[in-house]
Symmetry: C2
Subunit: 198 residues, 2 copies
Amino acid sequence: MQTRSVETRAKIVQAAQELFSKTGYESASVSEICEQAGISKGAFYHHFPSKQSVFLELLSDWLKGIDLGLEALRSNPPEAEQSLVRMADILPEVIHAAEGRLPIFLEFWLHSARDKELWNTAIAPYQRYREYFRMVVEEMDPEGAIDPAKKETAALAVISLAIGLLLQGVVQPDAADWGAAGRESIRMLLEGMTRRSS
Amino acid sequence: MQTRSVETRAKIVQAAQELFSKTGYESASVSEICEQAGISKGAFYHHFPSKQSVFLELLSDWLKGIDLGLEALRSNPPEAEQSLVRMADILPEVIHAAEGRLPIFLEFWLHSARDKELWNTAIAPYQRYREYFRMVVEEMDPEGAIDPAKKETAALAVISLAIGLLLQGVVQPDAADWGAAGRESIRMLLEGMTRRSS
């Protein structure tokens, strides 16, 4: 793409994010996005087939950021448990990056519950994280001493904790130290997982 | 209120719930609610000042149900830990009751993040639960042997777990045994909380 085309695309994504988080995904129209971005409708449809496709790009950018954060943790893991606990350290960053995006993601999640095609898009990333956490928990138990059902539960619990903390953190960023809360919660959970089975 | 008036009110609430969960809170209009309920706009405004007030009634009904469930658990508690773990038993029921309501609640939560007045309505119940769980965790530690910060974290973690499990359970009711997942997660968490401090 030419520089100008790249700039236009970035303008659209930026304008859409601002509008979605201000008035909601449902309420924002393509016309408003164009107005906010200072471009024509023709230019919009040159880059995106629909409002939904802009949303998916926003979502995918955000998930890429989370993936990179998790990858960085795993590339230099002192220990599997440490990498899970340190995962909580990226929570404030994820909350910060999610500002204006997580509400949109949730709105989209809700729409997805009513629309199977959207659902596949919204649910795929979540399946990936569940797999990821199951793997990390597995690494904590090289001798296979822990009941597999317990490890499965722990993986699901880590995701549930993360979702719950994110949801609260995004709407009340100052109500708690979300990174510390995540770190300490995950630590308690893993402690409980290993201790109960020894 | 006269019987007919009570019936009309119930019809409005029922119609609103169906519409909100089908098309979303934002998209549903008072006209559509009236049409669905088979009543006039005059009758609607006789009972409710706005669409938002119907939503708040739905929300309050649902929260009352959760309160009753928690109250029942506490009225006959074998032990504080048991009551927290058994709390997970009401999770499937809450998920079931939330069907069609939790998505609306979340949508409302998102709108609240953009509107301070709504926010106070949406946030108050959550503060109540945080207080409730802090109290239950406190009962588990009559001798005050556990670091208060740890108990605070545990209370927040239980809520976060519940929110995360609910959110997943509502959109994927069959993807896991959510009650069992909640029970086992809370157990791990509490085990971690008490063991680490002994």
